[in-house]
């Protein structure tokens, strides 16, 4: 890794050690708190993927290094960071971008239009200059600003005049709001007339950062399993000595290391859409597998939140649903591999 990224990595590690590691369960389960969000912003973590014409902050590699390392301790913090960066990458209004980047306000992008079928996600229309209606499945619904798609196909930034509905069940990332929103607002601006296309592009751009979070989670949870297996005994042996456990975790960690290398190689170049999609798919599958194995190694203790394992198990699945859709991605991948429309019947 180049020196500047190494420095960034150690910055995140220090940040984790100081503010996250001892607090990670709380950061997962309860609202993060303004002070903590401000600290994240002060580190510059919220202004890493700006879309500025001067290229300012448009550094996917730096963002990925930050996300990967945050996710090792607190996946919810990494996801929050990604959401803010994704939001800022398409907003042109400096005041808003600044307020989000400095942590005084928050913003989110609603990807659910791409994740569930048409008509399953509520409806937002413009009537008499106001956006009205409801949108389902808004991840980050406790934010100050929301970017979402209208029925007419425009992508809009809603700046006020919306409220979060009853919270959806939350498998993971419990500190981040997740609910429907009810909108009645004249305070909005249009980001793109061809909103679905733009949302799709933004979704595509999530591939590498989502993979970074999934990899960070795999690193965090597997490290706990490796540590535990070295000290816990059963039948007079350390757990690490038993073949089933040792082989399972070893092969998953080796897979993780290979993926990490692939990930860093991709970051050094410009990854193709196929490579990025495939990396995301593999990293998410790995995060689910490795968190299951790590939980299993912990036996009953893995099932309790105190050991900080079960949250990875929940978050790995939540990540693969909230910011990813297996079927849609596979259809895309099949199309890229066949170089023709494929995998749609």
């Amino acid at each position: 890794m180049e020196e500047e990224y190494e420095i960034l990595e150690s910055t995140v590690k220090d940040f984790n050690a100081k503010y996250v590691d001892n607090n990670s369960l709380k950061l997962e389960n309860e609202a993060m708190g303004k002070e903590f969000v401000k600290m994240l912003a002060d580190q510059g973590f919220f202004s890493m993927a700006g879309q500025g014409e001067d290229g300012k902050g448009a550094d996917i590699k730096a963002l990925s290094v930050v996300l990967e390392n945050l996710a090792k301790s607190a996946p919810a913090v990494a996801v929050k960071t990604l959401m803010i960066n994704s939001f800022s990458s398409v907003v042109n209004e400096k005041g808003i971008v600044d307020s989000v980047s400095n942590g005084s306000k928050s913003g989110t992008v609603t990807f659910s239009d791409l994740l569930v079928g048409k008509d399953q996600n509520g409806s937002l229309r413009v009537e008499g200059g106001r956006i009205k209606g409801e949108k389902e499945f808004v991840f980050g619904s406790d934010s100050d600003f929301v970017i979402t798609l209208l029925d007419s196909g425009e992508l809009v930034l809603i700046k006020s005049g919306f409220s979060a509905g009853k919270r959806h069940k939350k498998l993971g990332f419990r500190s981040i709001g997740f609910s429907s929103i009810t909108v009645d607002s004249a305070d909005f601006s249009i980001i793109s007339k061809d909103g679905r296309k733009m949302l799709e592009r933004m979704y595509e751009e999530l591939s590498i950062p989502v993979a970074a979070i999934a990899l960070g989670m795999s690193e965090g949870v597997s490290q706990k399993a490796l540590d535990y297996a070295k000290v816990r005994t059963a039948f007079g042996h350390y757990l690490k000595d038993f073949q089933p456990l040792a082989f399972d975790i070893a092969s998953l960690v080796a897979e993780m290391d290979i993926l990490k290398r692939y990930f860093h190689d991709l970051l050094a170049a410009t990854p193709s859409e196929k490579e990025a999609l495939f990396l995301k798919h593999k990293a998410l599958t790995l995060a689910k597998d490795i968190s299951r194995t790590s939980l299993q190694i912990h036996g009953g203790y893995g099932y309790l939140e105190d050991f900080g394992i079960e949250k990875f198990y929940r978050d790995a699945m939540a990540l693969s649903v909230l910011l990813h859709n297996e079927e849609k991605d596979m259809e895309k991948l099949a199309g890229l591999v066949f170089d023709a429309r494929a995998g749609f019947v």
Binding site: S112, V116, K169, L171, G236, Q296, G299, Y303, L304, Y313
Partner: protein, 375 residues
Amino acid sequence: MDFELSDEAKEAIVKAKEFARKHFTEEVAERSDREEQFPTDIVAISKREKILDFSNPWKVLVTIEELVRRDPGLGISVTISAFGSEIFMLFGNDSQKEKYMNPVFAGQKTLGLGVTEPGGGSDVANIKTEAKQDGDSYILNGGKMFISNGQIADYFLVLARTSPPPSPEKKHRGLSVFVVDAKSPGFAVNKLHGKLGVRATNTAELIFNNVRVPKENLVGEEGKGFYYIMTFFNISRIYVAAQGLGIAHGALDRLVEYSKKYGEMSETGELKENLQLAIAEIATRVEAARNLTYKAASYLFKFTPNPVVTSMSKYYAADTAVFSTRRAMELMSLHGLTTDLERFFRDAKILDIWEGTTEVEKLIITRMMLKEEGA
């Protein structure tokens, strides 16, 4: 070979379905899960309505499956009140059966089983809780971990060491089972919070600080406790397999429902094939797990238990539950995440752990098979 359930068992399924429909509302299930609250009222109603008919083990098995299929946390809470009672049935004396087992079967009392300790659950023979004889009593010292019904049980069956093992290889000797009244002086309970799933069930740590237990509370013979517990697990694992069937079938129900409502159609007007094949795979696994479980049950209920098939059924049903909930979550996307399927996903993972981890079940399968072949 007959794959049909008896009419009685079929009636038990109908009764369980109706009970779950009436009492396992989403509101109650969600609240019990969120607040980690044991559903005392529903359990009381289930006892009044004799939802579990202990006179017929097939009825118990299918009732567990059906209730858990509706909601795992509530289903297990309702069906776990008598956890450990087979130990009385097989090894208890008449007075213990009368005093402890009958009130549990009658729904008046709740039982818990304390085997696992903070230092380990798989390695049962290595437990550290001690019971020292003192006149007409035993004095218990030590602690038990992750005990279901911990806060609510009236009595516990507790495994403790009564004499040192003759050699390090023979640690399973010198262990005994006692009934401990939850009101005994020196006995304390700490509720465990923050479980991943089955949060409606009550789980606690038990502490024994010079707990005096009368000699008549020794179950069976002194020193044979390990054997009693292993015999019990060979029974209870079949019921855990039924929990797995319930969870996996519940996930399948939800996926099928989803596919009818939201499943994407291809241009041919059929459900897209990826979803069709996933449903087929889960349904096949559920059926295979059910056949294994019913086979194990069939051996057991004819008093010819087959530990190999029993462990196979527990391991495979647990794995099927975890597999099915995960696949359903992946395919149902936000519809899975925001419905009770996410609870099923969290609940399923316990089955890989309790009453013999998946690794331990696999070891039992091979060791017993090799032993049988050797014989």
